[in-house]
């Protein structure tokens, strides 16, 4: 039972590490942004997991329901998702700009291009 209780957290950790690995090990900038997204989602899942109360339902008040899950993390994550997509858009815009300037979106090629100049 103890084991099952923590399984969710472990999967969150695995996801987070997957995202982390993509960010540090890949050179492609778009791929890095995807990695960041995965990392982000894992954090979201972590918050939502903490908010769940066993036997509770969604925090929308209704007749005859006593236990609700915790609404506070939901609020935080709700705004975080939209902000996340806004920042992703900003990052992608930077990628497009970099592609304009250097003609490539591979990290090491950009570095090589920089050293040439």
């Amino acid at each position: 039972m103890e084991f099952l209780g923590l399984l969710n957290y472990w999967i969150v950790v695995v996801l987070m590490m997957t995202g982390f690995y993509i960010v540090i090990a890949h050179n492609n900038l778009v791929k890095k942004i995807v990695g960041l997204n995965i990392f982000q989602v894992s954090v979201f899942v972590f918050y939502i997991t903490m908010a769940k109360v066993k036997g509770g339902t969604a925090p929308i008040l209704a007749e005859g329901i006593e236990i609700y899950s915790n609404p506070l993390p939901h609020v935080l994550i709700l705004t975080a998702i939209v902000v996340g997509v806004a920042t992703t858009a900003l990052g992608l815009a930077l990628v497009v700009r970099i592609h304009d300037a250097y003609g490539t979106i591979e990290d090491d090629e950009i570095e090589a291009r920089e050293n040439e100049l």
Binding site: T57, A58, I60, A62
Partner: protein
Amino acid sequence: MMFAVTAAAVLVTMVLTLYRSIKGPTVYDRILGINAFGTLTVVLISVYGFLSGRPDFLDLALVYALINFINTIAVSKYVEFSHMGRPTGGDELGDM
């Protein structure tokens, strides 16, 4: 408990489509898989609403039906007109 059986069937089908969209040799297979997966998500959310006894949340499924459509159209458009539709090596996943 009828709902539970249906939900289980949806989950099984999800696994099948997921297999297709991860493995799928061409880009089109992936799109197809993801489209089907989206529809399954719609069904799963509706069924889960009934399963948990609060079927008020069908707005969510409705949003999915819409977004899924937009997504597929966008992907098909970009694939169709940017010649990125080459088959991708499905075997890159083989060494996992």
